[in-house]
């Protein structure tokens, strides 16, 4: 297939990341779909000084912050839901190592929408009148955060959000073909808008499917190949978070990871074991534990993938589809 964009995770990070870039990922809530493994690879390759733009926090952002890879963050939610505060992120903010600019979850979706449309600003009818409008962690940069704008019809004043156009977005999807057409199962959060707002898009797919799957379900292909630079195949890419249809949250590792990231020593140990502790996909699944992989795969949501299983390309056939092999 001439349009093949399937490359390895390591290659994707080498080609589509650099120190200081504005990096977007996830766009999902803290326990759901996010390209967590892309963040692990960013740390493995030593990326620094990232300006992270996450719709909501996730273990990826928690890890990147703990590892000192991130200088600035913009997000709508910085916790881990019932798993509590994101300790790596929290520590980096409290010590002043990292500047976190706060918005709401709708604001982040709208800022991606505005970036996708390339608007100069986005109308804000929420976030105004609160400290989300009045306080800015980036105030030193001299750019207003949510300045007022006047509705020309009624004359009333609302706010204006700044649109986001991240340099690179690593987007977790459930299924992709090698050309980059992608299907997300579960809520999209703002992955649809983000995929258009970002200057470059890399999709990280739990499974690769034949393009016939996309032609059978074109309405599910919310990320078309024409906007995708590269496709990475990586099962359990969102681990320890969930991927609806594919696997459940690994509750035990969620707790272990967040506890580790609460201290420098814990972080060092976590990086050693869970970030540098594998060489390839096989090693990664060994690290999670084959038994746990099987248990997490027995999700109540598994039936959501059933209609697509016949098109999933067996892992042993994927090597031949790799773009870089040529």
């Amino acid at each position: 297939m001439g349009m093949g964009k399937l490359i390895s995770l390591a290659e994707a990070v080498r080609r589509f990341s650099w120190d200081g870039m504005q990096y977007a990922s996830g766009a999902a809530l803290p326990v759901g779909s996010d390209a967590v493994v892309f963040g692990r690879e960013l740390v493995r390759q030593g990326r620094r000084d990232l300006h992270a733009v996450f719709h909501a926090s996730s273990q990826q952002l928690n890890l990147l912050a703990a590892a000192g890879a991130v200088a600035k963050v913009e997000c709508g939610f910085s916790g881990l839901e019932v798993f509590g505060f994101a300790n790596g992120l929290r520590r980096a903010v409290e010590t002043g190592r990292l500047l976190l600019e706060d918005y709401s979850n709708l604001a982040m979706a709208l800022r991606f929408l505005g970036g996708a449309l390339n608007w100069p600003f986005v109308p804000a009818t929420t976030n105004i009148g609160s400290d989300l409008q009045y306080r800015s962690a980036f105030s030193g940069e001299g750019r207003p955060k949510i300045p007022p704008v006047r509705d020309p019809f009624s004359g009333r004043e609302i706010g204006a959000f700044s649109p986001l156009r991240p340099d690179v977005a690593a987007i977790h999807v459930t299924l992709a073909d090698v050309a980059g057409n992608a299907i997300m199962l579960g809520t999209e959060w703002s992955r649809f808008e983000l995929s258009r707002a970002a200057k470059r898009v890399v999709v990280i797919a739990d499974a690769i499917v034949d393009q016939d799957c996309m032609r059978q379900f074109p309405n599910l292909v919310r990320i078309p190949d024409i906007i995708v630079e590269a496709v990475v195949h990586w099962p359990f890419a969102a681990w320890p978070q969930a991927s609806p249809g594919m696997y459940d949250v690994d509750e035990e590792h969620m707790v272990l990871m967040n506890k580790a990231l609460a201290t420098d020593e814990g972080t060092a140990s976590y990086l050693q074991t869970y970030v540098r502790g594998y060489q390839d996909l096989d090693g990664y699944l060994d690290m999670i534990g084959r038994n746990r992989v099987e248990v997490l795969s027995r999700s109540e949501t598994s039936f959501l993938v059933d209609p697509f299983r016949r098109w999933i390309v067996p892992p042993e056939h994927l090597a031949g589809l790799r773009g870089e092999a040529a």
């Binding site: 326990v31 939610f77 019932v82 979706a109 929420t126 976030n127 009333r156």
Partner: protein, 264 residues
């Protein structure tokens, strides 16, 4: 668990759930507010039209409390998955949603909520790091601005009930009176603060939160002692009706993992 056979948190969840009416379009956050919402659906509001911030529609959580609003436990039996722009924008910020339940780390006399951080003293004019970073706004700011009314659920402790929130994450009635009006929010503001000790409601003119009711196991005095402003009480303030057996049974069917039964 109290001698009454239910915990303070269970009472709070039931009191919150009673605020939800059948047929309403409602948005529930993660954790306790979701339990309160699904309790209402289970008990007296079977046709409540519930959604999550991420755009999960038509679902009832399976296997206990979801760990997150995008969790597989709430994705296993949805009828529709859309996105955050839809749920928080089209349906909430627009003013279409009837009621939202939000939590608070800190709440003040005008129902303003802080979930962003705790600072020592005033923050001051310029940015400085918080002593304790909290999870931020999430969708709560959008719900506080857009939902026709919001219910704030919060553990009743003096440190949480402040004269003025240090950081105003989600607007209540701002400085009280009509000060909220000039922002043109579609939503009407908080109709109640439901706590582990009782219920506060806004005075119709000043918008200051006054004591509306206490629980069988609490009292007006206990609530005043745990509130960081000079709490006034409505003339009609009274004791809340104790949870019925049917209510408790419904709540515990929803709270399969017993998250609320652990006394805090």
């Amino acid at each position: 668990m109290s001698a009454a056979g239910y915990s303070r948190q269970e009472m709070m969840a039931i009191a919150t759930g009673r605020e939800i009416k059948d047929g309403e379009l409602a948005i529930f956050g993660v954790g306790l507010s979701m339990l309160a919402g699904y309790f209402a659906k289970e008990h007296h509001a079977p046709n409540v039209r519930a959604m999550t911030e991420g755009g999960v529609f038509g679902a009832t959580p399976v296997g206990g409390l979801p760990w997150g609003i995008e969790c597989n436990r709430i994705s296993a039996n949805a009828t529709s998955f859309t996105n955050a722009l839809d749920a928080l924008g089209f349906l909430v910020a627009s003013g279409r949603c009837d009621v939202g339940i939000i939590g608070a780390a800190q709440v003040d006399r005008f129902g303003n909520v802080n979930t962003t951080g705790i600072w020592e003293g005033e923050i001051g004019a310029d940015y400085r790091p918080p002593k304790t970073r909290l999870p931020g706004a999430g969708g709560a700011n959008d719900i506080a601005c857009g939902a026709k009314r919001t219910v704030i659920m919060v553990t009743h402790e003096p440190k949480r009930f402040a004269e003025r929130v240090t950081y105003l994450t989600s607007p209540g009635y701002l400085d009280g009176g009509d000060s909220r009006d000039r922002f043109g929010f579609q939503g009407g503001g908080p109709s109640a603060i439901v706590t582990t000790l009782g219920i506060l409601r806004p005075h119709p003119d000043t918008r200051e939160f006054w004591l509306d009711s206490w629980y069988p196991f609490s009292s007006a005095d206990e609530i005043r002692a745990n509130t960081g402003w000079d709490l006034k009480a409505f003339d009609h303030a009274r004791e809340v009706t104790e949870p019925s057996l049917a209510e408790l049974a419904a709540l515990r069917r929803v709270d399969q993992t017993g998250a609320l039964r652990k006394e805090k």
